[in-house]
C-alpha cells in the first residue's frame, strides 16, 4: 500500500549555500501523495478519476537537506471519508557517503477524487482497511477538525499586495515580492490542472525571496502553515504569487503568501484566490546556526493587525510544542 519516491538532490534544488529549498521538498511530498491517492481511488471498478490536492496540514522542516543527499519520500493512506483521502508522508534525508539518515518532514495531505470525464464532479472514495480499530475513529476526528478549519479560512479576495515607492529597510513594503508564472504543460496533470506541489514550490520561492530581502543572509524554511486549495488552477492561467512579511520573533520570520489565478485567455472567468498560507523562515550563519533577525516595523493599521495575529500564531505554536514535550510516535 505504501508508496516510495527517492531522488538525489541537485544544485537546482538548493540555494547558493547548498540547502535544499523547502519548496522542492513540498513538491516531492505532493507527488508521492498524488500517486498513492490516485492509485487508491481507482482501485475499484467504476469511473476513472484523478486525485486533486485539497489541503496540506501544517508541517515542520525538522532538519536541513543538502545537495548530494538522497531524499526518500514515503506515503501511506491513513484515513478515507466518503469523498476524501488522508495521506501521511514522511521525508528522510540520506547522506550516501556517511550513511547518516535524518527525518526531515512529516506531512498530512488531503485529496479529493475528480472524475476524468468531468473534472468538476467529485467521486466516491473506496474505504481503506484499518489495521487497528481506533484508527478509523482517530481519522474521523482529524477529518472533522480540518473541515471546520477550512470553513473558517475563507480568503478575503480583495486583499492584495500593493507596492510602495522607496520603502525603508525592515518595513513590510521593503521586502514584499510578487512573482507571475504562466502555467505550462509540465506544471499540470494530464487532465489540465496544476499539480498542488507546483503551486507550493512557487509559494516557497516567493516566501524565500521576501525573507532574504528582509535579513540579507542565508535563509531556510522552518515550517509551513496549513494550506487550503480553494479551486483548481487550469492550464494557460497566469498565476500571481505574492508574499509579505507579517511577523518576526527573535529568530524567525512569518511570511504570508497569496496565490491568485487569472484565466488570461478565458474571458468568462474572473481572477480568483486559489490558495494562501503562512511560511516561517529562519536565518542561518555559515555554520548553520540560527541567527537573530532584524525586527519587522509594521507601519499601517493593517500591518499592525497582521503582526499581532502572527504573534498569536507564534505563541500558540510555542505553547503547543512545549506541551508536546512527551515522547511521540
Amino acid at each position: 500500500m505504501a508508496s516510495q519516491l527517492s531522488r538525489i538532490m541537485r544544485p537546482d534544488d538548493a540555494n547558493v549555500a547548498g540547502n535544499v529549498h523547502g519548496g522542492t521538498i513540498l513538491k516531492m511530498i505532493e507527488e508521492a501523495g498524488a500517486i498513492i491517492s490516485t492509485r487508491h481511488c481507482n482501485s475499484q471498478n467504476g469511473e476513472r478519476c484523478v486525485a486533486a490536492l485539497a489541503r496540506v496540514e501544517r508541517t515542520d522542516f525538522l532538519s536541513p537537506m543538502c545537495i548530494g543527499e538522497v531524499a526518500h519520500v514515503s506515503a501511506e493512506i491513513t484515513y478515507t471519508s466518503k469523498h476524501s483521502v488522508e495521506v501521511q508522508v514522511n521525508v528522510m534525508s540520506e547522506n550516501i557517503l556517511t550513511g547518516t539518515k535524518k527525518l526531515t518532514n512529516k506531512a498530512t495531505l488531503w485529496y479529493v477524487p475528480l472524475s476524468l470525464k468531468n473534472v468538476d464532479k467529485v467521486l466516491e472514495v473506496p474505504p481503506v482497511v484499518y489495521s487497528r480499530q481506533e484508527q478509523e475513529e482517530e481519522g474521523r476526528k482529524r477529518y472533522e477538525a480540518q473541515k471546520l478549519e477550512r470553513m473558517e479560512t475563507k480568503w478575503k479576495n480583495g486583499d492584495i499586495v500593493q507596492p510602495v515607492m522607496n520603502p525603508e529597510p525592515n518595513t513590510v513594503s521593503y521586502s514584499q515580492s510578487s512573482l507571475i508564472h504562466l502555467v505550462g504543460p509540465s506544471d499540470c496533470t494530464l487532465h489540465g490542472f496544476v499539480h498542488g506541489g507546483v503551486t507550493m514550490k512557487l509559494m516557497d520561492e516567493v516566501a524565500g525571496i521576501v525573507a532574504a530581502r528582509h535579513c540579507k543572509t542565508n535563509i531556510v524554511t522552518a515550517s509551513v502553515d496549513a494550506i487550503n486549495f480553494h479551486d483548481k488552477i487550469r492550464k494557460g492561467c497566469v498565476i500571481t504569487i505574492s508574499g509579505r512579511m507579517t511577523f518576526t520573533s527573535n529568530k524567525s520570520m512569518e511570511i504570508e503568501v497569496l496565490v491568485d489565478a487569472d484565466p488570461v485567455v478565458d474571458n468568462s472567468q474572473k481572477r480568483y484566490r486559489a490558495a494562501s498560507a503562512f511560511f516561517t523562515y529562519v536565518s542561518l550563519s555559515q555554520e548553520g546556526k540560527p541567527l537573530p533577525v532584524p525586527q519587522l516595523v509594521p507601519e499601517t493599521e493593517d500591518e499592525k493587525k497582521r503582526f499581532e495575529e502572527g504573534k498569536g500564531r507564534y505563541l500558540q505554536m510555542k505553547a503547543k510544542r512545549q506541551g508536546q514535550a512527551e515522547p511521540q510516535a
Copy 2:
C-alpha cells in the same frame, strides 16, 4: 570555425497552442554564441577567459516553430575588435517528419572575454581570419555603429513599473506585469554570473504575459529590439523583470521590458538596471493568421510620450522593411 546546436522542441518550450516561445529560441541563440566565442577567445595561449554577452542586435522571428520540430542553431564569428567578438547566428526549424526546413531567425551578438581569475578584467581577443578583405571593414562599421548606440542608451534607473488599483481594460496598467526570479545555479556560467540567454528568456516570458493579458488570445514574439547588457548579474541576485505595453499598431503590440538586479545578500551593492528592450508581439487566430489587436489607451503623460516613441520605431521599421524589398540573402 562554425558551431552547431540542435534540439527537439518540447512541450515546456512552447505555449498552450504549441508555438515555441521566442525566449526559448533566444536562449539557444545565446548558448551557441557563448560556446563559439569562448572557444575562440581561448584559442591562443594566455589567460583563460569566458565570453560574456554584451549586446544582441535587433532580430525578427520570421516563422513560428512548433513542438516536435528540431531547432538547428548555427553560429559563426564574423568580426573581432580588440576586446569584443561579433557572432552571427542562424536558426532553422526542421520538421523531421516532412523534411521541411524554414529560416526562423538571424541574429547578431557581441561578446566580451572576461578573465577567469578576475571576472571584472576584460582580456584581448585573438584576431579572426577573414575570407574576403572587405569583411574586416564592414565589421568595423557595424562595431562602431553598435558602440555609438550603446552609448546613447543609458537607462533611467528611477523608471519602474508601478501597479494601479482596478485598471480599465486596454490601458497600460491593465496588462503590465512583473516577475521576480532568484538566480539559481543552472542560470549561471561556471563562473557565477547569469547567462545572457537566461535573462532574455525571462524578458520574453514577461512580454508574453503582458501581450496575453492585453489581447486574451494566442500570441507569439514577432521581433526583439537591440538588447544591451549593462552589467553582469551574479549568482544569488534577485532579478525583477517588468513589462508594460508602449504601443499598438493594427496587428502588433510593442512591450518594453526592464531588468533590474538586486544583490539581496550583498549589502554593499545597490539595485541596478541590468538590461532592457522592446519586444513586438502579434496575436494569432487558431489557423495561425494574424488578428487585429485591441488598441492601447495611454492615460498618463508618460504613457502618451512612450506611445509616440513606439509609433516612431514602428514606422521606421516599416519604412526600412519596404526599402529592403530588393532580393535578400
Copy 3:
C-alpha cells in the same frame, strides 16, 4: 540493500506521440545505480568516494511507457570485484488509473568508486554478501566477459560524422545529426563530472532524431547496445553527440552514436572520445504496431562495411533471442 526510485512521467519526458523517451528511462536507471553503488562503496570506514558509471550492458525496451504513468526503478547489487560494482536495475511502468504494471527494462550497470579527494584514484569495493554460493561464481564470469569486451572496443578517435551537401533520402548522410551541449551544473555530480545518465539521455535524443529523419514516423527506442564510458567528462566541457544510421532490417534501424568531449577553456587537454554505442529504434503506427522502415542505402566503402557489421549484430541478437525461447525469469 535494494534501492527504489519512482516518478510520474510528464509531457517533457515523452515525444509528441506520448511515448516516454528511452533516454529518460536510461537516466533514471543510472540514477538508481549511482545511489546504490555510492552507498555500498561508502559502507565501510575509510576514504569517501563517489561511484562513476563505467559500463552499461545491452538493454532492451520491452514495452513502451506513457505520460501519466509512474515509473518504478529498483536497483540491487549483484556482484563486486576488487574495484567495481555490478548493479542490476529493473524498471516497471504502472498505470495508476487501471492498476496495470509492466516490466519495461532490465539493465546491468558497472560502477567504479573514485576517491573524493582525488577523482583520478580508484578505491577498493567492500565485498557484497551473496545469498546463494553460485552467485559469486556467476558474477565473476560476467565480470570477466565485460572486461574482455571493454578491451576490444577501443574507439577509433579519428572517426567522426562529416556533413554532406544535399544528401539523397535513405542515405546515411541524409539522416545523420549532431548535437552540441555545454555541460552545466545540473548535469554534474557534486564532484564536477557529468552523470552517466545525462550522457545517455543525450545519446538517445540524437539517435531519435536520426531515426525520425530516416523514416518520418513515430519512433521509439527498442534497445541499446553495451555502452562503455572511457573517460569522465568534466564541468565546463562542450560535448558533441553525433549519430548516424548504420543498418536497417525490415522493421528496425541501428544508429551509432559517438560522444566527444572538448574542454573548451582548458587548452592543455585535447578533444577525446568519451563514449559510443549502438541504439536500435523501431517505427510505430498510430495504433502502436511496428511499421516497415525504408531501407538504408550505404554509399561509401565505410558505410557498406558498417552496414555489414550492423547486420552481423542484428543476426546474432536474433539467433540469441530464438535460442532463449525457453521460459525466462
